[in-house]
């Protein structure tokens, strides 16, 4: 597991137009610059936002990647819930669900 590099791909995509151009041109080639597992590459390229969430990607990085992938806000929140349903609880990081649904 290489959560650090998984997040670094998205950090650089979110802030750097040149990295985004490489993402548009050949995402697989871009990803070869980062030390990622097969599961992480798959989660990025599908993209499987739910799996990225479960892998522990910081939400402040992931929400922009989800927007880049075309997910609307409620779709993004649902994708995280679906990720937990499919892949289990969040494995790392600070952005785990509380399980408290007693709010608007």
């Amino acid at each position: 597991m290489s959560l650090y590099y998984l997040q670094k791909v998205m950090f650089e995509l979110n802030r750097d137009a040149h990295v985004r151009a490489r993402y548009d041109a050949d995402f697989d080639e871009l990803l070869r610059d980062y030390d990622l597992t097969g599961e992480e590459v798959r989660a990025l390229t599908e993209p499987d936002i739910g799996l990225l969430y479960v892998l522990g990607v910081n939400g402040q990085i992931l929400m922009h990647y989800a927007a880049l992938a075309g997910l609307e806000w409620e779709e993004y929140k649902q994708a995280m819930r679906d990720g937990i349903e499919e892949h289990g609880q969040v494995r790392a990081g600070l952005y785990a669900m509380t399980g408290d649904t007693n709010y608007a």
């Binding site: 650090y4 979110n14 910081n58 402040q60 922009h64 819930r81 600070l94 952005y95 509380t98």
Partner: protein, 281 residues
């Protein structure tokens, strides 16, 4: 000149990005509080605004994460987010590198800070600026406190940072305002986005507005994470403002949980006149 203005406010991206989904009456009251803050800040003669923010991986990452960083650039650009998503168009914001350099040099006598001559704003700074300097023509000095990538600076250090910032600002000839911006309890960018603990927020705000240092620095990260979410780590920005206004209290101009904005929306102003720092004596 002694610091001319100090306050604290929210910065959540939904405030501008999901504006049309909020109750218009509630949203507009919140926006009006921001406008009241802008008017008060400018009426105080503010020439430069120091924004003490908590960015979200716009500039700083775990390859080289400063606990504190102060901007020293000619200009800043933002937002890094998609303009349509955030509801704020790309803009270039003026800096004041000469003043930054003097402030940083002064602060380094007491605390260690990093500096940056290149800095892109994310919602953590650009959302407040959208309200506080809507024409983006006020000189800005951004400050970041790492609230995202643990280990994080302890709260008592955030208070010390605020003290050092105050002394540094008081020693300059310019009229400077300091505004801290962060969330209180919130669980942003999680499936729980929209969850807000109003009671926790109000208790924290009561301690902040009374500037009770011992109470403010007593929160542990374990307690905050459990009770106020990972977004609660951003109270460091409020604690720094409390340090910058040590000896003063403040007023709450607005607080209302707005779930679609994912935070208890806050505008608070601290009295800078009562506090007299060593540099101003």
């Amino acid at each position: 000149m002694p610091l001319v203005f100090a306050g604290a406010c929210s910065h959540a991206p939904g405030i501008t990005g999901r504006a049309e989904r909020a109750d218009p009456k509630v949203r507009d009251e919140f926006y009006a509080a921001f406008e009241r803050m802008r008017v008060a800040m400018m009426d105080a003669g503010t020439e430069t605004l120091v924004v003490v923010g908590a960015e979200h991986f716009a500039n700083f990452f775990m390859n080289n994460m400063p606990a504190y960083c102060v901007g020293m650039a000619d200009y800043y650009e933002g937002p890094i987010e998609d303009p349509e998503w955030l509801g704020i168009q790309p803009v270039r914001v003026p800096g004041n590198p000469d003043l930054s350099r003097r402030v940083i040099k002064s602060m380094l006598n007491e605390i260690d800070v990093a500096y940056a001559e290149e800095w892109k704003f994310d919602h953590g700074i650009i959302v407040p600026l959208n309200f506080l300097t809507p024409d983006y023509d006020l000189d800005i000095i951004p400050v970041n406190i790492n609230c995202q990538g643990p280990p994080l600076t302890p709260l008592h250090r955030a208070y010390e940072f605020g003290r050092a910032l105050r002394r540094a600002c008081d020693a300059q000839p310019e009229n400077i305002a300091v505004v801290g911006t962060g969330g209180i309890s919130h669980w942003p960018a999680t499936p729980d986005s929209g969850k807000i603990d109003e009671a926790w927020d109000r208790e924290f705000l009561e301690k902040f507005l009374a500037n009770r240092r011992e109470d403010l620095v007593a929160y542990t990260d374990e307690d905050t994470l459990r009770d106020a979410g990972q977004g609660g780590f951003e109270i460091r920005t409020f604690v720094a403002v409390a340090g910058a206004t040590e000896g003063s209290g403040g007023e709450l101009w607005y607080y209302e949980p707005i779930p679609i904005f994912a935070v208890g929306c806050t505008v608070a102003v601290m009295d800078v006149k009562q506090a007299v720092s060593e540099a101003a004596e």
